[in-house]
């Protein structure tokens, strides 16, 4: 096995400490989520205070670095985040070399991809990279270029949320997530284009004219890059950034990741601070990480999974475990999942919308079934009233965005473009309905935990909807390639894996074991002609 991320010692897997989804009290998580609903209703999660969170010392352990020094490729942008970290730490690659490699590609190709909305100069990035001292254990991301979505506040770059509503908005502080990345030595290569106010794919502000291209089809404007974290998806897939940050309220991290062959994680609600992110729904918004493989997502999650006094949703959670370790598969007769894991298959998972995807999903399940430590649970029973509780009015969040945007709505409703209804709906949803919807979310969450995750540890799902509404974690990852029916282009296909509260380690372990024997995550698209 050539993958240097596989840890020797198959039998040792049985003696691993259990992942966090086991010992954490489910009753505790449920009661905590009930508080989030009530706090959102009373507006107590609002804050206008600048982010001042400080890292808790070194958070990324040696598991994040490659044990075998990777070869230095001619094009440094072909390195994964973990490989880049390893080579920078060893001195084989300088941060400035990495910065220049990415800026070269951005300058050459972003006119076509349109992944970025705003960028700093090359000189500014090189200056920032030079300020991070070498060898600092607190700066594992030294020289690593990242692409946060344009709804993350940045003190040095415009934050426009893909919309006329925030055109020209310049925050005077960084959001907590950006603060943490920069504190770890990371660099913001630019603010990634996004769907209008975190909905749909990126468009020219105030119009329905698409901008960002899918990295796999740069000549086809109609083939979607996925939304709403479109620019981040394209930046990472086209190697205009090592990795990036998105946000997900309803599939906006897994969508572009699946569409562009990326690996992503949207962790349990509250795991990453939302302070300094333009809000959409106080009860459903999540920060997510978009990268090239399971280990890369684990590294960024490790940096970001910290309590933030400025976001009470992040407080009181169990301490973050070692995600990088979880994303390291064991090597037995073949790579195995770190912990014995029951993988559920959602009842309609194998009934995909096209034959390519259906075939790839069947192959995925078969591959997982061959993985030591995995048991497939094919006959899942869904929670009671699942359809009613997870969709329609009860499963929605119609009222959430309105309160924050009242002043913007008064100024000119035309600035909201095609997203206007989403932001006016809160004025029409009655208080009794809003309360009932919050109750329904708690009821669904309770049933997901007690009636679904009593049958399995993780579950393969067609979409992330119920997991966004309940705050449960998901990962997206590539499972192969299909053919776009309209253009005949070869395009990536992906799958989504969901877990119970704090099940991130379990997700990372399964995806890492899968990626140890498949190569879809290593493929990247050809450059534009």
């Amino acid at each position: 096995m050539s993958d240097s991320r596989i840890q020797a010692g198959g039998d040792a897997a049985a003696s691993q400490p259990p992942p966090m989804d086991g010992p954490v009290s489910r009753r505790w998580f449920l009661s905590r989520m009930a508080w989030v609903s009530s706090a959102a209703a009373t507006g107590t999660l609002l804050s206008k205070v600048p982010a001042v969170a400080s890292p808790r010392g070194p958070v990324v352990t040696d598991e994040a670095f490659r044990p075998v020094l990777p070869q230095v490729p001619g094009d440094l942008t072909e390195l994964t985040l973990s490989e880049s970290m390893t080579l920078i730490r060893s001195g084989a690659v300088r941060p400035a070399d990495l910065v220049n490699a990415y800026v070269d590609r951005i300058e050459a190709f972003d006119g076509i991809y349109q992944a970025y909305a705003a960028r700093p100069s090359r000189e500014a990035l090189l200056e920032q990279a030079a300020r991070v001292p070498p060898g600092g254990a607190d700066a594992p991301l030294r020289g690593i270029g990242l692409a946060p979505k344009d709804n993350f506040y940045t003190a040095d770059l415009l934050t426009e949320g893909g919309s006329l509503v925030f055109e020209g908005f310049q925050p005077d502080y960084d959001g907590t997530a950006v603060t943490l990345l920069r504190s770890a030595g990371g660099l913001v290569l630019g603010k990634a284009q996004m769907g209008n106010l975190a909905g749909g794919r990126a468009q020219r502000y105030g119009t329905t004219i698409p901008t960002t291209r899918n990295a796999w089809t740069p000549d086809l404007v109609d083939y979607s890059p996925g939304g709403s974290s479109s620019g981040t998806g394209t930046a990472v897939a086209a190697r205009l950034a090592v990795a990036g940050l998105g946000t997900q309220t309803g599939g906006s991290v897994v969508g572009p990741s699946n569409a562009q062959g990326l690996t992503c994680i949207k962790p349990t609600f509250g795991r990453i601070s939302l302070h300094g992110v333009i809000p959409l729904s106080y009860t459903r918004d999540h920060v997510g990480v978009m990268a090239r493989d399971a280990l890369d997502t684990a590294i960024l999650l490790q940096v970001l999974a910290q309590p933030d006094p400025l976001d009470p949703r992040t407080l009181g959670l169990p301490p973050a475990p070692n995600y990088a370790l979880a994303a390291t598969a064991f090597d037995g007769e073949r790579p195995r999942v770190r912990w014995p894991t029951r993988i559920g298959v959602w009842p309609d998972f194998l009934e995909a919308r096209d034959e390519d995807t259906a075939r790839l999903r069947r192959e995925l399940v078969a591959e997982l079934e061959r993985t030591p430590g995995v048991r497939i649970v094919a006959d899942l029973r869904l929670p009671d009233d699942y359809e009613a509780l997870s969709s329609g009015a009860l499963g929605g969040s119609h009222g959430d965005p309105t309160a924050f945007f009242i002043e913007h709505l008064r100024r000119d409703v035309r600035n909201f473009g095609d997203r206007l209804p989403r932001f006016l709906n809160g004025m029409l949803q009655s208080a009794d309905t809003y309360v009932k919807v919050q109750q329904a979310r708690q009821l669904l969450l309770h049933r997901m935990v007690t009636q679904l995750f009593n049958q399995c540890d993780v579950v393969l799902i067609g979409g992330s909807g119920a997991f966004d509404g309940t705050g449960l974690p998901v990962m997206g990852f590539p499972i192969g390639f299909g053919t776009d029916e309209d253009s005949g282009s070869r395009v990536p296909r992906g799958a989504v894996l969901g877990a119970g509260p704090f099940g991130e380690e379990r997700l990372l372990a399964v995806v890492a074991a899968y990626q140890a024997v498949t190569g879809f995550h290593r493929e990247h698209p050809a450059d534009p002609a």
Binding site: A34, S38, A41, I406, V413, M427, V437
Partner: protein
């Protein structure tokens, strides 16, 4: 669940309600074209969406949830979430 005994409002009645609600908060939707499928948004689509949201209230009201269950009340939780340390790993 007992069925409502009054006739449901018409589209026209709901449209008046929606416009009044927006106007009450100082929001002017008359700046949008009345009906233009090529525009990013028009009044016709906006009102159609608003009517569907209002009518969803009925669906929500009709779904039974035990009122003793999972109350989104303020606050059991700062005490639980921020001080219930013995329940954590």
């Amino acid at each position: 669940m007992q069925e409502p005994k009054v006739p449901p409002p018409t589209d026209e009645e709901l449209d008046r309600y929606i416009r009044t609600r927006y106007a009450l908060l100082g929001i002017d939707i008359s700046v949008l074209p009345v009906s233009d499928p090529d525009a990013p948004m028009d009044q016709e689509r906006l009102l159609r969406n608003g009517r569907s949201i209002l009518r969803e209230d009925v669906e929500v009201a009709n779904f039974p949830i035990d009122p003793q269950l999972h109350l989104p009340q303020p606050f059991p939780a700062p005490f639980t979430a921020w001080s219930d340390v013995e329940d954590r790993p």
